[in-house]
């Protein structure tokens, strides 16, 4: 089955890229743009597991590789 892992920056960690995007949107004439946040989403096909096991596995992947706990948090969810 397919699992989604959404990785976000922790609160309080500055995201200069998001800030740059916000400014560029403003400069492009988009007004009323408030906060901009960015996340990374991974979708991983995991074979031969039931949903609970697959989500568990995805959590382990995020923990061990896909997210950096110093600056990021993550959530996992089934796809589809």
């Amino acid at each position: 089955m397919k699992v989604r892992i959404v990785v976000s920056l922790r609160d309080g960690v500055l995201d200069p890229a998001a800030e740059t995007i916000r400014r560029s949107l403003g400069a492009l004439g988009f007004d009323g743009v408030g906060a901009v946040t960015q996340r990374r989403v991974f979708e991983v096909e995991i074979d031969g597991r039931d949903e609970a096991a697959a989500l568990e596995e995805a959590r382990a992947m995020a923990d061990r590789l896909l997210a950096n706990p110093v600056i990021e948090t993550f959530v996992v969810e089934p796809v589809g």
């Binding site: 995007i21 560029s24 400069a27 492009l28």
Partner: protein, 736 residues
């Protein structure tokens, strides 16, 4: 499979005659796969059908040339059993469509051409031309191309040490992205691409094959039009990480004796690499396309043969060496597969799913592609611009300030600070000076490297412009103390089916050939990019020259910057004051007109040899060639680079002030020498028939131009550094 017809052939960019010819060669109708193969192999990009007979006029030999054009890159001897291997190539059309990936894959492609011959790449350069800064697409293209060049080269870890950037409205619809790679190898370990040894395995290594860039080679050979947008899905994406793995794996394998032949898969992918290898070796090849590592499911033989997925190599191994190769490839986490064998049949036989899906003779496809002698028409003659007829709209110092702050002459720091220029820890002179200087690792030697062209000269007088580009490259190498060895080149022109364009191409080649001959500066590799034209509007003809020179002792290299006060500045060369086609005329007077400056190759050589002689005597403390913008701009560049000011005085005998300060007369240098050396220098000059003239002295933090005025170096620096970042701080899509 699609029924092949003349309509299908035309969709593939083949003419009716070419389609006829294919049927004659095969003695039957080609199938779609075969047609695809012919179309890419006979595309302008792969076959050089419009340029071939003219390229043959370029001199390609010298005692130090180990391998001239014809292989993946040129090879020159640099002593001690070492060779320099280099080539320059265009990635113009892909970069216009997707600037980041287009430029990145251009860098990757040219690196593979160099390491496929056994060289470790040690330096990258690039030559970029963009449209007018005011064109709505320009900023986005600059941002993407620069980021792409950096993104790829930085990741592979080869320093980008030099280049040039130009802006002109003629590039609005067709930018030029030319990349040059220089590598170093052991002379006895140079690898060639001739498939030999019947029965030897043909091995594929690198990235898996996807549907990227199918028909990229034919796209590069078709004039743009508004409908090109529809061709977008052919854009290839580069993976510099994979390139790095491929580079290390190939060099590791090359240390042994497993490789018979090796060839990168560039434009036209597996097709051109396999055909070229068989053609060079006079052999045949049988490929089992089921064995090709595929990235996507359901790929057809047509797609597998025509894909332009990047970071792939084709090798012929010595029989029995498969396991050694496999061990190295798997160490570097690369996919590899034996996909075929060398045969003696002289044919390319392609199998897929158990049946023969293509069977084509090698020689007529690779070697005997059509060659055209397209009609060429010279450019109409243009009047020279007499200096006296150039009204000076502003004073000398104000004109200088405008030039220094102009898009053409301002600092390129914004761009080159995105390129890692110091990786490999051998860069002695990086971007921003004359030629770059890169130490040959672990030796006393260094290579001097430059790319040069002045399209506005070529536009008006292709012969002069072609010669000038070669001379300027030679001069830049000389200015850092190097002995110029050889050049590579990248000929960027419009549609060769137009006689004017053909005239530009043949003229430029003629001029290049003359200069190369006169300077003993042969051509060892190159690339031709035609059809740089949109809706009938062609680019300024741009025969980019990549020059390579050698310093036997890197500690004797000469800097461009003046750092010491109290030195005398001496101009080498004559300066009647040529303002035609100059930047002064364009930037300050708003006039694009006049013949470009004359080029006298024998004077060029005499002056350069003289300067090199002065350097050998240890007299030269700084040196700069005089190019775009003329004498005063050259002096200011020396001051900006070294931080020391100067005073210079306009002689009484000049045509006009503007002609003296901003004329672009060729074959000139400025050298900074100690006061007490001047008399000897002038004496030696007159003995050698070289014109030399003291023009000022160094010192202070001002640039003093008697009798016109003065300006602080800091002010000029601010002007020089200002334009690029200010321009680029306008808006843009994210580029990476």
């Amino acid at each position: 499979m699609t029924e092949v017809s003349i309509a299908v052939a035309e969709d593939h960019g083949l003419s009716a005659e070419e389609f006829e010819r294919i049927q004659t060669i095969l003695g039957r109708m080609p199938n779609l796969l075969e047609l695809g193969i012919f179309s890419v192999m006979w595309s302008e990009h792969c076959s050089y059908k419009s340029s071939k007979r003219h390229l043959a006029k370029l001199p390609t030999e010298a005692p130090w040339v180990v391998c001239g054009p014809g292989e993946n890159a040129g090879v020159v001897d640099i002593g001690d059993g070492q060779v320099a291997i280099f080539k320059m190539e265009s990635h113009n059309h892909p970069s216009f469509i997707e600037p980041y990936q287009g430029a990145a894959t251009g860098v990757g492609g040219i690196m593979r051409d160099v390491f496929t011959m056994g060289a470790r790449p040690v330096a990258m350069l690039n030559a970029l031309r963009f449209g007018s800064p005011s064109h709505p697409k320009t900023r986005h293209l600059v941002a993407g191309v620069v980021a792409g060049i950096g993104g790829y080269g930085n990741c592979v870890g080869v320093p980008t040490v030099g280049g040039e950037i130009g802006f002109h409205g003629s590039f609005d619809g067709n930018i030029l992205v030319n990349a040059m790679c220089v590598g170093v190898a052991q002379a006895d370990r140079v690898f060639y691409a001739a498939a030999a040894g019947i029965g030897n395995p043909v091995v594929y290594v690198g990235a898996k094959t996807g549907r990227d860039g199918i028909h990229g080679a034919t796209m590069a050979s078709a004039e743009f039009s508004d409908t090109t947008e529809a061709k977008r899905p052919t854009v290839q994406v580069g993976d510099p990480f994979k390139e790095k793995l491929l580079l290390e794996a190939c060099l590791e394998l090359m240390a042994g004796d497993a490789i018979v032949a090796i060839q990168d898969m560039g434009a036209a992918g597996l097709t051109s690499s396999s055909f070229e290898m068989a053609s060079r070796g006079g052999t045949g090849i049988e490929l089992d396309l089921d064995q090709v590592p595929a990235r996507e499911t359901g790929m057809t033989p047509y797609e597998l043969m025509l894909s332009e997925s990047q970071e792939r190599m084709l090798l012929v191994l010595r029989e029995g060496a498969e396991a050694d190769a496999e061990a190295i490839f798997s160490k570097w986490e690369l996919d590899a597969a034996v996909i075929g064998r060398v045969t003696g049949s002289g044919r390319m036989v392609l199998r897929f799913d158990g049946t023969v899906v293509g069977d084509v003779p090698i020689a007529p496809v690779a070697g005997a592609s059509p060659v055209y002698d397209r009609p060429a028409e010279p450019m109409p003659p243009v009047l020279a611009v007499a200096p006296e007829l150039v009204r000076e709209p502003v004073g000398t110092v104000a004109a200088l300030e405008r030039l220094i702050a102009s898009p053409e002459l301002c600092s390129r720091r914004w761009a080159y600070e995105q390129y890692d220029s110091t990786v490999m820890a051998d860069t002695l002179a990086g971007p921003g000076g004359d030629a770059a200087v890169v130490r040959v690792h672990g030796t006393a030697k260094a290579l001097a490297l430059t790319v040069d062209c002045t399209p506005r000269y070529v536009q008006v007088d292709p012969v002069r412009g072609g010669a000038q580009a070669v001379c300027e490259a030679w001069r830049n190498l000389t200015a850092v103390g190097a002995m110029p060895l050889a050049i590579t080149n990248c000929l960027n022109f419009g549609n060769p089916e137009r006689p004017r364009t053909m005239g530009q191409l043949t003229g430029a080649i003629q001029g290049m050939a003359k200069a190369c001959r006169g300077l003993d500066f042969p051509v060892v590799s190159g690339n031709v990019s035609l059809y740089n034209e949109t809706d009938g509007r062609a680019v300024q003809p741009t025969p980019g020259i990549g020059g390579v020179g050698l310093l036997d002792d890197w500690s004797r290299r000469i800097e461009v910057g003046i750092v010491e006060p109290g030195l005398q500045l001496v101009m080498i060369g004559d300066a009647p004051g040529w303002l035609g086609a100059s930047l002064y005329l364009r930037v300050v007077c708003g006039r694009e007109e006049g013949m470009p400056p004359p080029v006298d190759v024998s004077v060029e050589r005499r002056n350069g040899d003289f300067v090199r002689g002065l350097m050998d005597e240890g007299l030269v403390r700084a040196c700069h060639d005089v190019g775009d913008g003329g004498l005063l701009v050259a002096l200011v560049e020396m001051a900006l680079a070294g931080g020391c000011g100067f005073t210079t005085t306009e002689p009484a005998d000049v045509a006009t002030g503007a002609a003296w300060w901003f004329g672009e007369d060729q074959a000139r240098y400025v050298v900074a020498v100690a006061e007490e050396a001047v008399a000897d220098l002038l004496h030696e000059a007159s003995a050698s028939g070289v014109l030399a003239r003291p023009i000022g002295h160094t010192g202070g933090d001002q640039i003093v131009v008697e009798p016109h005025g003065r300006v602080a170096i800091d002010r000029l620096r601010a002007l020089s550094e200002g334009w690029f970042p200010a321009y680029m701080s306008g808006l843009d899509r994210q580029t990476s």
